[in-house]
Amino acid sequence: MGQILSALGVVILGVAACAGYFWGSNVILDRIYPPRGPNAGANIMRANTIRPWLFVGPALFALTIYLIYPVFASVWLSLHDRSGETFVGTSNYTWMLNDPEFRQSFRNNMLWLLIVPAGATFFGLLAAAVTDRIWWGNIAKSLIFLPMAISFIGASVIWKFIYDYRGEGQPEIGLLNAIVVGLGGEPHAWITMPFWNNVFLMVILIWIQTGFAMVILSAALRGIPEETIEAAVLDGASPLQIFFKIKVPQIWGTIAVVWTTITILVLKVFDIVLAMTNGQWNTQVLANLMFNWMFRGGGDFGRGAAIAVIIMVLVIPIMIWNIRNASKEQ
């Protein structure tokens, strides 16, 4: 209890300090360049060139320390040995290219990149299309959206329970095996089946992300001008034709946004793999491998940073695309 009180204390203190900084720095600025008196005009000009920097200052400082500097530091570290002190050139990268575990992680990550965004977008689009047409659509949407609130690790427990395997002859308490047995099949230890276990892990992320895709695509679908649909109806188009030939082409932009957002999430996928298999049975991915090297044998910062750089490089195309789009809007 005392700990929560101290956390609340920190909140109050932190908010007070922030407010005090913004308020105080503004007062000081107005003291130095008073907006009245003989030089009022020049003072206001000067104050107005400084003031924006007072406003963005703390944010800029935090962004620099926590995100900008580390990008450069990681690149620098990736060219050094495990302790981060001796320059080793590109040897971390050549090590990586020849390391079977890295290659496997890379392959798996590519698989994740193909399947998860496609799956989540597909199911999201399907859910958006059907829930917009029924009277209980809002409740259905809320329920499909709900897994978004669940942590990756919580979702991992939920699905590990579904994939549970008890061995032959015992009653299966995992839903998947119970269904398979009920249909006359053999129960399996799904998590340890190479290759397919990757798909079973991806299902978890698709399950979480479908709600996100659905909400955004549903808003886009509702934004489609009625006239285009009415025209198609008059021309005698079937509901499926209307959906695929009239609606979907009009929301390609939004589908791309959903796809890239999930792609970025997939590149960083870590918790699910850590919790379900920790990379065993050929399920390793880059983010988990990087985490492993950070602490493996006391930590190899060079190799860890090199893997992080690879993840970053994979993100860069999307980053550039985002910046382009955002500046087009200005």
Binding site: G174, P239, V258, A275, A326
Partner: protein, 383 residues
Amino acid sequence: MEGIAGRNPLVTWLVHISAALLVIIWTVPTMGLFISSLRDKDQIAVSGWWTALSGSEQNLVERTAAPDEAVERDGTWVLEGNLFGENEGTVSAFGWRAQEPAAFQPGETAELRGGETLTVEKDGTYILSSVEQPEGKRGQRIFFTSLQPPKFTLDNYRNVLFSQGIGRSFINSLTVTIPSTVIPILIAAFAAYALAWMPFPGRALLLATVVGLLVVPLQMSLIPLLQMYNSVGGFLGVPAKTYAGIWLAHTGFGLPLAIYLLRNYMAGLPREIIESARVDGASDFEIFVKIILPLSFPALASFAIFQFLWVWNDLLIAMVFLGNNEEQLVLTGRLRELLGSRGGNWEILTASAFVTIIIPLLVFITLQRYLVRGLLAGSVKGG
């Protein structure tokens, strides 16, 4: 839209059925977790949660009372008792040899090796009678198949909250989450206002940087920051893994989204309000505090929800920047530990998992409106 679907009853039915299927697939996993967390731990281990209401069959072994306690009645020595003791259950078969544990139906009389006879009723009462006076302390073993009535209990929750450390971790999670949610909002709000309404050189570049930083993978930051924390901790003589450290880390990582969301929202506010306030002689600070901040409440709320969910659900940052000890292990970290150490104990895992997801679920259900608005502002508009 209704008209189109309504014209063809087959399409309408297909739409309803596929919506129902999606909803079922998306809710059943969580439901299974919740139902299991309330079941008796012996039942979880032997039957699926979907049978929770129909009771479960178990093969059990009990011993009768000690032979010394037999009483003489009409020339025979009789031992009486109930296999279930204080509990309730239904016997569906019984036997006295391990090879044939279900050889007899309840109500039948079985003849044992020494000439005794054994009768077990459905409700578990048994009568073991013999002609000679039995001796010894060990009772006769009775094998039986019992149909346990469905049993729901809060014991699992009591166990994880007070014995498995989930209660303590809950407090730790709150300690991490509250400051990590509040602090970035204030910092971001000021920056967002400057980026939206104050002209200064480099503004476009700064904005592009924020958009770029939105997608920078956290993995890039981990190692340099870990090194930095270690050296700062060493320099100041404090531990490297502290709550203050993780609050600041979450603040830094949350800022790009916060600035981006808030700037987009503030830039959409009507220009006239701000201009007329400027004409009236209000300073930027006054405009921000008195006009912009109250008007931006919806955007502030959506970011707060995002950040809360993200921090509460985070595992990676907590694993790197917080210790693994009782005072600092957050819920997600604890759940991961339990997954490793209690892999097969589903009563512990399901109850723990439910405790970790209940707060985000409640936040999510009650504040969904703001969350959806934030999602739309964050992706459709900004692209």
